[in-house]
Amino acid sequence: MTLDEIREIARIEADREEGYRHRINVCVAAGCLSCQSASVKEAFEKEIAKRGLENWCRVKGVGCLGLCSGGPLVAIEPAGILYHTVAVSDVSDVLEALDDGPLDRLVCSGEMPFFKRQKRIVLENCGRIDPERLEDYIAAGGYQALHTALTRMSPEEITREIEKSGLRGRGGAGFPTGLKWSTVAKADNETKFVICNADEGDPGAFMDRSVLESDPHRVLEGMAIAARAVGANHGFIYVRAEYPLAVKRLKKAIAQAEHAGFLGNNIFHTPFRFDINVRLGAGAFVCGEETALIASIEGKLGRPRPRPPYPAEAGLWGYPTLINNVETLANIVPIIREGSQWFAGIGTEKSKGTKVFALAGRVNNTGLIEVPMGTSLREIVFEIGGGIKEGKQFKAAQTGGPSGGCIPEHSLDLPMDYESLAQVGSIMGSGGMIVMDETSCMVDVARYFMEFCRSESCGKCVPCRVGTTQIHELLGKITNGTGTAEDLTKLEELCDLVKHTSLCGLGQTAPNPVMSTLRHFREEYRAHIEDRFCPAGVCRMGRGKEGE
């Protein structure tokens, strides 16, 4: 494949699209699929055939359109209309309304802050292209960044460009991506690996799944550019087995890319060769930790090991290995295409670019959103999210999953960036954001996350294995009304111990949900202990006594 051939494919695709007066895009990402969007798509196809409109209208399955709470979503191009909750019975009405303007009862206003306040970089193709067609990706400019990286840039230039962009790892800790790349690039070894971490384990997070399901080639292209920069020839994508659709689309995309020559030997007629294999995770949260993930790819128990040596020096089978998260890799293509300066101009001083959040919980508009770093929590919850369901009161937003914390109401104006979130005792994490209202008990939420960490602890180090169990028991006592003031002190001491002495990130961050709720919602803990009362009415007090 040459650049001219890519451009030719893009041109043909664009012409073909132009030829249709109406283009109907039906969301077929997992969220909408679970509201039967597949049968809606089928109904459109049938109805169009029945009316003989095939030459005027085409129907396409696309990736995530974002507003999951309004599924199944259908977008009409080029009119730029978005319909929500489209049922099979609405199909003929939608077709009738194609020429006369939108169908009022189903239309989502394009002026909705949910759409207007977003800035789509990672998700720019989501909802626009058919994730199962390589031509669609090429028509959207796909694989041109790889061409640039292979033919017009040296590996050092690529790495420098990523360094200058200020991109930081989107998996949680926010380590500078360029620095990681240059460390692997400097490692002196013939064999190196690039791994894409798609083991999205945080409950309440579905950003990576949406990217993989909606735009898989974007991730493959990012990996290939990364491989060129660090000098690797083999790549692995470690993806959750719980995401069968993402796995299927990834495998299909890899086969397409191999066939077209974007993966394999002599890519773009250069000496560069790179292949990608998919490895399935098997439901172990700890495998999101990079050394555990490597062990799992090697077919072993997913248990972390002490670092150093870091995977950049000794990773998969002992070779230098670059591990980046899905969203990080999805940022590479636009940085190479638009330049590091453009990217560095978005976001805050220390957190550049955008962040994708999986907005869920008690907000009106749930779904997948992408906003510039530094956007305030208030804007996300009350403008993009459309406020709290049923007019209830905002209580907290949980970010970072079991490693994160709860942000209280008085911090609503907090800008969403790595440093600000750390200041209030939470973390950016991978992007799960669960909004809670007065019906959620913060002690119960802390107990929920500790239950998660307890069962996900791999058992290798004592502080995490025993500590999480003990903390969970104490929280169990408090939530069933048998906790004492002494337990609260013990709880704080234990959290401190587990945080500072655990081997890997899982244990070190496991106390975060407890510590952040203790910090911001201490009165709720007090109410449980002193008054044997759960202010949210969630905990069934006295249950423990009866049970014992």
């Binding site: 997992a30 969220g31 699929l33 679970s34 509201c35 999951c68 709470s69 599924g71 999205e200 384990g201 945080d202 409950p203 309440g204 997070a205 579905f206 799944r209 087995a241 719980e242 995401y243 490895r279 399935l280 995770g281 098997a282 439901g283 172990a284 949260f285 799992s296 790819i297 090697e298 077919g299 072993k300 128990l301 997913g302 999986a358 907005l359 869920a360 919980g361 008690r362 749930t366 779904g367 997948l368 949980q398 999953g401 799960g432 669960i434 809670m436 019906t439 959620s440 939420v445 929920y448 996350f449 998660f452 996900e456 791999c458």
Partner: protein
């Protein structure tokens, strides 16, 4: 390397024994594609579970032998990862998502109602082998919380009543 040869040949014999069964052919194919290397273990177990529904001890022995991995390690891997199960599933499976969004939308109550209806807990199967109850860490359908998977089909914004209705149908299906 020489010392390993007889074991490898023995494994080959086992392989040929199972060559006629199309289900085993799928499993063997995965191992062959990975060059019978020990690092194919997890991929192979995925295929075994996908094909047979669960991991039987005899199967684990066969995989251990073919990939030349100690059975103890195969067992360790099979029990370490939550995705693998050593027990046969029921004819119907109900997966309840316990992700954060589902939890604060009442997933615990859903589990409670199902437990009452089926008299089994998460990870168990009814005595007649009809229905298995499973919990998931997170299905990633948080925008549609609470979510469940009923026989492979994801259902969002589900109510306990809807699930119980399906469970009742499953119970009577099998009786009839």
């Amino acid at each position: 390397m020489e010392a390993l040869k007889p074991i490898a040949m023995k494994a080959q014999d086992e392989t040929s024994k199972r060559i006629d069964d199309p289900r085993w052919r799928r499993v063997n194919r995965v191992m062959r594609l990975h060059g019978y290397k020990p690092n194919a273990l997890i991929e192979t177990l995925h295929m075994v579970q996908d094909t047979f529904g669960f991991l039987e001890l005899e199967t684990l022995k066969y995989v251990a032998q073919t990939l030349q991995v100690p059975l103890s390690r195969v067992y360790a891997v099979a029990t370490f990862y939550h995705f693998f199960t050593l027990k046969p599933p029921g004819r119907h499976t109900c997966v309840v998502c316990m992700g954060t969004a589902c939890y604060i939308s009442g997933a615990a109550n859903i589990i409670g109602d199902i437990e009452q209806s089926l008299h089994i807990g998460p990870g168990e199967t009814t005595a007649d082998g009809a229905i298995s109850l499973v919990t998931a860490r997170c299905l990633g359908s948080c925008g549609l919380a609470p979510a469940v998977v009923l026989d492979g089909e994801i259902k969002g914004k589900i109510t306990p009543a809807e699930i119980l209705e399906t469970l009742e149908r499953w119970k009577t299906d099998d009786a009839g």
